[in-house]
């Protein structure tokens, strides 16, 4: 089925502005102003920046979960209802505690209401296997570890077969070991999918390792500090982070984040 799909859309942010009004005060919180950013079809882009800089907001704006204050976001080829797959950091609250793993993975398709029951079950089974959770189909989220719950979320979103994948610090709440494992598995899975993927994180290593391209954002109001392609194609984490090109990049990003934009 995946082969016959159209290519994943490109995403264009033009002059995007997001503000929050403080009730009563005249104070207006500007998350970002006039942001221009484009993502090419099938790209895996990691977005890295300090906490609270608005990187999660960008995902929510693209995903339609939060309204724009100004500017526009368009998809190319344009479509009225792009299929967006969202993966949240708070996995405990992102899954339905009353559903089994199997049902949770079917959740996205269930909401959509297009696939039949058996089609849903098949799709779920396929992706449960892909994320390595076979055998746990009838377990409940509370019986699983954090890493496993996050895999359920991943399987759920993959089963939905979205055009675009938006991942909001999915590994932020996990311990270091689980994070490394999931990062490697994710790379493998995403490499085979050829969807446009946006992955937000505050972990510099993770952003450099996972992304074909990395965008560095400043603190609020968010501005683009850097935007570069991945240095080499090694997919094994330990090898990647011990390469010289990685270390150089790491320092660059670290310095950028520390000093912030020039007009601070």
């Amino acid at each position: 089925m995946t082969d016959e799909r159209l290519a994943s859309p490109a995403i264009h942010l033009t002059g995007v502005t997001k503000t929050y009004d403080r009730r009563g005060d005249d104070e207006v919180l500007t998350i970002m102003e006039g942001l221009d950013l484009s993502f090419h079809s099938g790209e895996l882009v990691t977005i890295v920046g300090p906490s609270g800089c608005g990187k999660s907001t960008i995902l929510k704006l693209i995903g339609g979960l939060v309204p724009l204050s100004g500017g526009s976001i368009s998809f190319e080829p344009s479509s009225p209802n792009p299929r967006i797959g969202f993966v949240f950091q708070d996995y405990a609250n992102a899954l339905a505690p009353w559903k089994t793993v199997q049902r949770n993975v079917e959740f996205g398709l269930e909401i959509e209401g297009v696939a039949s029951k058996s089609e849903r079950a098949d799709a779920a089974a396929r992706y449960i296997e892909m994320v390595g959770l076979n055998g746990f189909e009838d377990a409940y989220p509370r019986e699983l570890s954090g890493g496993m719950q996050q895999r359920v979320q991943l399987a759920r979103v993959l089963a939905y077969e979205p055009d675009v994948l938006l991942m909001d610090e999915p590994f932020g709440s996990l311990d270091a070991q689980t994070r490394r494992d999931l990062q490697q598995e994710l790379r493998k899975i995403l490499d085979s999918l050829h969807r446009t993927v946006l992955f937000v994180t505050h972990d510099i290593e993770e952003s450099l390792y996972l992304g074909d391209r990395t965008v560095v954002l400043s603190h609020r109001p968010a501005r683009i500090l850097a935007d570069f392609e991945r240095s080499d194609q090694t997919s094994i984490f330990e090898d990647f982070v011990s390469s010289d090109s990685f270390r150089k990049r790491f320092h660059e990003v670290w310095d950028l984040l520390r000093s912030g934009p020039d007009d601070a």
């Binding site: 403080r22 009730r23 009563g24 005060d25």
Partner: protein, 265 residues
Amino acid sequence: MSGQDKLGSAWIRGLKTILVLSVIFSLWEFVSRAEMVNPFLFPPPTQVFTDTLTAFTNPPYRSGEGLLFQIGKSVYRSITGWTIGVIAGVLFGIVAEWWNKPGSVAISVLEFLRPIPVILFLPVLVLIVGIGDLSRIIVIAWASFIFVSINTIFGVRTAKQSLLPDVVRSFGGSETLVLRQAVFGLAVPQIVAGARQAVGIALVLMVASELILSTDGIGWFILFMRRSLFPAQMYGAILIVGILGLIFGALFQRLEKRILRPYIR
């Protein structure tokens, strides 16, 4: 959110509430005066207000004690009963749970007794101790006791599971010191929660106990006004009960904030 912000929204909330209530009362006034409903059964709010006011000075019954006296009686009973119940509940809860084994039985018994409406025992109590304040105070004290002791037991349980008792022991503290410093302190939030529930129940039982076999108090007043067919005063007294409830609630909230200040992180 800045302090300024919070104050602003609280004012707006209050304003909206007053607006809605004014609309409701104005509607009632209109509907009553226009005689769209039986104005005897539903006297207009203005009449309710004036008639209730006269009840303070010139009550339409023989004993001659005004509404203020009745209110005072009710308040006295409820506060006394609640206080006794809270103190007894805290003491019992701490003792019961701290000395472990009996604690588990205590909580089962208490949980069993909780859904039994204590008001059922009022007729018996009146028989034993007579129709006076004591029977009502006992009823209110008992109910408060049940709530507070159950919550205290849970609070002490949580306290026992924490590390603080061992910390006090490691510094050479005696068991009583452990109890006083560590356990009680940790159990306070839960105890306060129980006391808060008890406030609500005390108010309800205060009125309820005065509706049955009573000769004074605001509950009695409401009933009497109905029997003697003075509906305006009856409504007035009902609203006063509501206002009392709000006052009690607000006072308790103040107290709660004071007590819980060291606990707010």
